[in-house]
């Protein structure tokens, strides 16, 4: 039986309650009759032999690029960059795709007699990965071969010696990337394309760039003109990255892009109910749901978080393609959409979403209030093509505990952003003008980013800019079950139950509104007609 495509359910009297993620908890909510629930397609069948598929892709590149072995020769300088801990979500069961790909690449390099090889984690302005995370992504064999010899590096966007300014685009955008990568004879970039935004020229132009460069597209104006940033054809974010990527290519940097896609097999078997449709839950699903939900309600949040963050996803690879960036990315995007796209007929007055415990920026950590906003209004809101799922002036209702909790190691500047910036303004344009510079250049944040495991000082701003399009588009945002003071600080409205939230929403969109629930994760892309 082949996997079923995505599905839009219309709620009627016989529909069982719908599962909402609520941070480290779950809620079952009975949606009003006539509401719609959008479900992701079932996981596509994975490639039967990933290693063979990878080798295949390396030997048969797409676009104007020679097969990888032809690009490798003794005495050359080879850099292999790879996506950091923000991908995939949740982290996948071993072996990680990056390990599989990199092992293949290294084998070809060894065969060709290349000995100047450096592995480079493409952090952009993200936190440095820990040893355990690197081992997980690369496998112990690769780690032990490179790390002790100083050949496993993490991109440092604040080390002037490690950066190279390649020029400016025709729109005046600075292109400044990792010096080792830029000066290599070949730059291999290993992607995991979890969502349609990932990959393409963004891999190098953002992942290996400096703040000076990234600020040209990570800003409120770009984000307001990316509709959505998951749809590269209508994304200013991508246009900017593409301009930069072409400049990088024109500067003589040869990029051998490797992109991979995953199926939506997101949760291990003990959480199977999370990716089944509620009316199809069997006895086992009901029992595991009751057990899990009941146990979680009794578990301290801190412990529940640890349990969830130890979850490893059984994602499997559905495609791998290699070669020239743009050709590769076009093929990859098709594969992503094949897995994730769901056709939805028309917009809705209210969109509801339950946020899980994880986003790309809190792996192994806590989803702080700013990341709550980013996950809901940045990521989930933008999971559309054509038109947003919710109409202009509509309401987003988000379910999440939204407590004022922050990780002091990963998110130090977020704490100050919450206390100093959000207390003053929630307007992305205003905060960019008044506060961004001081956070971005703050020596303490720079120090923590470079030597600790902290996101860059400017990162909370980016998270807020990620919401810019949604903030422009929506009439109101309601958070169900959040800490009221925190929710208000974000500029949103708190509600204790979904029905209270619906009443609040009706004040904005009028009586008898239409409602659509985005049943994510597993991830889907709503193709709104």
């Amino acid at each position: 039986m082949s996997p079923r495509p995505g599905f839009v359910l219309e709620v009627d009297r016989s529909t069982p309650p719908t599962l909402f993620w609520h941070g480290e908890r779950f809620r079952l909510e009975r949606l009003p009759e006539g509401s719609r629930v959008v479900y992701a397609p079932e996981p596509l069948d994975p490639l039967p032999d990933p290693r063979a598929a990878i080798r295949q892709a390396l030997l048969n590149p797409l676009g104007d690029r020679d097969p990888l072995p032809a690009l490798l020769h003794p005495g050359m300088k080879l850099t292999i960059a790879f996506d950091d801990v923000s991908l995939p979500l949740p982290p996948m069961e071993r072996p990680d795709i990056r390990q599989l790909v990199i092992e293949e690449v290294l084998e070809l390099a060894a065969t060709a007699g290349v000995d100047d090889v450096v592995l480079l984690a493409a952090l952009a302005l993200h936190r440095r990965m820990t040893e355990a995370e690197l081992r997980h992504a690369l496998g112990d064999r690769v780690y032990d071969a490179f790390a002790p010899n100083g050949l496993l590096l993490q991109h440092d966007a604040e080390d002037p010696d490690q950066l190279l300014h390649l020029g400016t685009t025709e729109q005046g955008e600075d292109v400044e990337i990792n010096r080792r990568a830029a000066e290599s004879d070949l730059l291999v970039y290993v992607n995991i394309n979890l969502v349609a935004m990932d990959g393409g020229h963004k891999s190098v132009a953002t992942g290996l760039a400096s703040y000076r460069s990234i600020r040209h597209h990570h800003n409120p104006t770009t984000m307001q003109h990316s509709r959505s940033f998951m749809d590269q054809t209508r994304s200013e974010l991508h246009s900017s990255n593409w301009r930069m990527g072409r400049l990088i290519a024109a500067s003589g940097v040869t990029v051998f892009q490797i992109e991979t896609t995953l199926n939506t097999n997101t949760f291990p078997s003990q959480f199977a109910f999370l990716q089944r449709r509620e009316w199809e839950w069997g006895t086992r699903d009901r029992l595991t749901y009751l057990g899990a939900a009941g146990a979680l309600d009794r578990t301290p949040a801190r412990l529940a978080r640890r349990i969830f963050h130890s979850v490893r996803a059984p994602h499997r690879m559905t495609s791998v393609q290699a070669g020239e960036v743009e050709a590769v990315h076009a093929a990859t995007t098709d594969h992503v959409l094949a897995q994730q796209s769901v056709v939805v007929d028309g917009q809705t007055d209210i969109v509801t979403m339950g946020l899980p415990y994880i986003s790309p920026y809190n792996v192994g950590s806590i989803l702080n209030p700013i990341l709550v906003a980013c996950l809901g209004l940045g990521y989930f809101f933008n999971l559309y093509r054509n038109k947003p799922l919710v109409r202009p002036g509509g309401v987003a209702i988000i379910s999440h505990p939204t407590t004022p909790e922050f990780d002091p190691v990963h998110h130090p500047s977020y704490i100050d952003f919450f206390e100093e910036v959000l207390a003053e303004t929630t307007d992305p344009v205003e905060m960019a003008a008044r506060f961004e510079e001081s956070f971005a250049t703050d020596p303490w944040y720079v120090h923590l980013y470079r030597t600790g495991h902290a996101y860059h000082g400017v990162h909370p701003f980016y998270m807020w800019y990620w919401c810019a399009h949604a903030l422009d588009h929506l009439g109101a945002v309601v958070i169900v079950g959040g800490d009221p003071a925190t929710v208000r600080r974000l500029g949103f409205r708190p509600a204790s139950t979904l029905s209270d939230a619906l009443e609040l929403a009706k004040d904005v969109v009028g009586p008898s509104p239409t409602l659509t629930h985005l049943h994510v994760p597993p991830i889907l892309m709503a193709d709104v007609q």
Partner: protein, 819 residues
């Protein structure tokens, strides 16, 4: 010209006790109403200020002089500089401690008013004896000497001594008491005042000797340690010495009280005053014309210089305010008993009238009774215009019901109903409450708690202090509300009758003029409440809360330097945790388990040593690093920083450091932690002062390179730093968490207690230091045991052996440190 003007115009007054309540009012009245009068004021020279400076600051600047200042305008300063002379001296020393100039100044005076006294009801016996008992005689003796000096110039010298005493010299009597000398009539208490003086001085030297006995000294030292913990030798010694002095004082207070009571007086004040009168009369009745003025309880002014003027927090005020705040629920007393209160301006007027009339000698005219010399005048209301205790309580209750005080939350405080209980019952209740609170305090104080809980203990201690103080009031003043003596004012009224109408208007002292209802409600209580600085408005205080004011002061750009402690001030961690993390990083799972077990077993003894002496603790503990690879630990310390220090840091503390820096303050971290541990924190501060381990061949020796900056050394380091950088400590802040940081905190102008442990919380509360309660970030990792994540680096081998090996080797050494 009234008769007083005629008699006193151009006179020069010699006044003792001008800095007191009555003295200030008297000086003001003389200068304001007697034409061309001058005053010579006897003042104890201050430690730093001259007598003239003291008078300017403590007398002339008082709001008592506002009226005169307004009347004279710009001329005030000049006029007073001309009319007021200060001479250095002390009624506690023979000859008043006057030098020749002082004596000459006294010789030029016409009238001497002696109002200096130790009015406190709980003064140590010897102090009360020196001032109250011997003071009047010393003043009289000085007068005699001054007259001799004056005679040389053909002058007469001072002609009249008015000695202020108290009506309560007769407190032990029942019924009406006439204005008789002590020792005559019903005052025949047969006490030899000379023997009392000798005994009191002897008591002082005995108490001083007793307090220096080794057992006592050990007790004071233990008490100081209990209070301050390991704050360093110097501070502990200073504190112990204060304890000793306090003990001597307390002892002498008790001795005085006991002696007074054994003779029938309620306490040492009236007892020494009574004997003082006796000594004066016995020695000088023939040599000096004397008038003894005996006021009852002096309270705020009825009209002069303005209604309600009062100086200092006097006997009735603390009781009234305690009652209005709901702290004092009962106060002993009989409702029909008379509480003898007299407004200060009436006493002043009586003194001036007595001075104007001059001393009475020999038989008077036919229509007046024969007066003996010296004369006694009661200035009291009890017979002429009695205020019953019950009525006073009613008036106070009614006023506070209408004008309640407000608590910290802006809620009105309901005043309790007064049930006029016996003194014994109230005392028993209060002392029981005090004992219970003391026990609770000690029990909780022994727990290793900090932050808000510790602040709660400090609050408990404050309640305890209040209960103790309430008990003190009851013990001290209880007898005054129960007194059944009533002071006749026949002579006072005779004096009143000698005044013409204009003087009666200007120098009113007839107790009958006081309308008690009006006085209590419209004069006295509004003034008391104003003085007590209590909240009289509902809702949130319009004033900026104290803590916000403190923050504003701390974050003023004018400040110079902010010094920070590390442990429990910036991070919720300590040297043991850092060590455990570093040492466990390279252990196998099995070794980790046994390592944790051993460390936990040692925890109590480590804690005890730390409490005893921080320096010894660090030296002993750091020996565990012996043999460890320096390079490797330095490398690991970056992970330690993220995993342990930053994870358990207080974001508010880090934000505060950054705030200070942005304000241009110099920021310094001063900690006993190791340099390799604090290295990653370096960019947060301008400078870091920390402990450093000695290294040989790339390995640590376990010895410290220099004295670790802890305890007193820390204060020295800061002082040296500030001096070298040209920064002023009084313009600086120090942030720390424990009593062992006291030297550091005391060194700066703006100390801040961060999450203080119980001892420091109590100290901070008492001294009004700003307290911060900073918590680790909620979303941070909270490992139960501070173990490093296992490093599997190939080079990990040797360090594992070295750190744990060092620990093993050191165990015998640890015993030598007293464990």
């Amino acid at each position: 010209m009234t008769s007083v003007d005629v008699a006193l115009g151009g006179s020069r007054f010699f006044v003792t006790g001008a800095t007191g309540f009555l003295g200030t009012a008297l000086v003001e009245r003389i200068l304001r109403t007697i034409p061309d009068s001058e005053v010579v004021l006897l003042v104890r020279p201050g430690r730093r200020s001259s007598p003239t400076e003291r008078i300017r600051r403590e007398v002339l600047k008082n709001d008592c002089f506002d009226r005169l200042r307004e009347e004279l305008g710009h001329a005030f300063d000049d006029a007073l500089a001309r009319r007021v002379t200060a001479v250095a001296g002390d009624v506690g020393s023979d000859g008043l401690g006057l030098d020749d100039d002082g004596l000459a100044a006294l010789a030029r005076c016409d009238v001497v008013v002696h109002s200096a006294a130790t009015v406190s009801f709980d003064a140590p016996l010897d102090a009360a004896v020196e001032v109250n008992l011997l003071g009047p005689s010393r003043v009289a003796a000085a007068m005699v000497a001054a007259r001799t000096v004056a005679a040389r110039d053909g002058d007469t010298g001072p002609r009249h001594l008015i000695a202020v005493s108290t009506a309560y010299v007769a407190a032990t009597h029942q019924g009406e008491v006439a204005e008789d000398l002590v020792g005559s009539g019903r005052f025949a208490v047969d006490v030899d005042w000379r023997a009392e003086v000798v005994a009191a001085r002897r008591q002082r030297s005995d108490a001083e000797a007793e307090s220096r006995r080794p057992e006592q000294l050990a007790r004071f030292a233990a008490e100081a340690r209990r209070e301050l913990g390991s704050a360093g030798v110097h501070l502990l010694a200073a504190r112990a010495e204060r304890q000793r002095e306090e003990w001597v004082r307390h002892h002498l207070v008790e001795v005085g009280k006991a002696r007074a009571r054994s003779l029938g007086w309620p306490d040492a004040y009236p007892y020494t005053k009574a004997l003082g009168e006796r000594a004066l009369v016995e020695q000088f009745a023939d040599a000096v014309p004397i008038t003894i003025v005996r006021p009852s309880i002096i309270e705020s002014a009825l009209a002069e210089p303005r209604p309600g003027w009062i100086r200092g927090f006097r006997m009735a005020e603390p009781i009234i305010v305690s009652y209005a705040r709901g702290l004092l629920k009962e106060f002993p007393g009989v409702p029909e008993g008379i509480i003898d209160v007299i407004p200060v301006d009436l006493v002043v007027a009586a003194i001036i009238a007595a001075a104007a009339r001059g001393p009475l000698r020999g038989p008077a005219s036919d229509d007046a009774p024969v007066v003996q010399s010296p004369e006694v005048l009661h200035v009291a209301s009890g017979v002429r215009n009695p205020l019953r205790y019950g009525r006073l309580v009613e008036l106070v209750q009614a006023w506070f019901s209408e004008h309640p005080l407000y608590d910290g939350d802006g809620q009105p405080i309901t005043v309790p109903e007064w049930s006029f209980p016996g003194r014994g019952r109230v005392q028993r209740q209060l002392s029981r409450a005090g004992q219970l609170m003391g026990l609770a305090e000690r029990a909780v104080g022994a727990l290793p708690i900090r932050g808000r809980q510790a602040a709660w203990v400090a609050a408990l201690e404050e309640r305890h202090l209040l209960a103790d103080r309430a008990l003190g009031y009851v013990e001290l003043y209880g007898s005054y509300t129960e007194t059944e003596a009533r002071y006749r004012v026949d002579r006072l009224l005779a004096l009143w009758d000698t005044l013409d109408d204009a003087d009666k208007d200007r120098y009113c002292f007839d107790p009958a003029v006081v309308d008690w209802g009006h006085y209590v409600h419209h004069v006295h209580l509004p003034s008391v409440v104003l003085h007590a600085r209590v909240r009289t408005t509902p809702g949130r205080s319009s004033q900026v809360p104290r803590s916000e004011r403190a923050i504003a002061a701390i974050l003023s750009p004018d400040r110079h330097l902010a010094a920070f402690d590390l442990e429990n001030t910036l991070v919720a961690s300590n040297v043991v945790a850092s060590y455990a993390w570093l040492a466990s990083r390279h252990l196998s799972p099995w070794h980790r388990a046994s390592f944790v077990g051993e460390l936990l077993l040692q925890a109590p003894s480590l804690l005890a040593l730390d409490r005893r002496d921080r320096g010894d603790f660090l030296r002993a503990f750091y020996r565990r690093y012996e043999g460890a690879s320096a390079a490797e630990l330095r490398d690991d310390s970056w992970e330690l920083f993220s995993h342990l220090l930053l994870a358990k840091s207080y974001p508010a503390a880090i934000a505060r450091v950054r705030r200070h820096r942005s304000l241009g303050h110099r920021t310094v971290l001063i900690t006993g932690a190791l340099d390799l541990v604090v290295e990653p924190l370096r960019p947060l501060f301008d400078d870091v002062v920390c402990a450093r381990l000695d290294e040989r061949d790339g390995r640590f020796t376990g010895q410290l390179r220099d004295l670790p900056p802890i305890g007193e050394a820390r204060a020295h380091v800061l002082a040296e730093y500030a001096q070298a950088e040209g920064l002023r400590l009084e313009e600086s802040m120090a942030y720390a968490d424990s009593a062992s940081d006291l030297p550091l905190l005391e060194a700066v102008g703006f100390p801040v207690a961060v999450n203080p442990e119980a001892k420091l919380a109590a100290i901070a509360r008492r001294r009004g230091w700003h307290v911060e309660h900073w918590a680790p970030a909620e979303g941070g990792a909270r490992p139960i045991v501070p173990l490093g994540p296992r490093s599997t680096r190939t080079m990990a081998g040797p360090s594992q052996a070295s750190l744990v090996g060092a620990r093993r080797r050191n165990r015998p050494g640890a015993h030598q440190d007293g464990r």
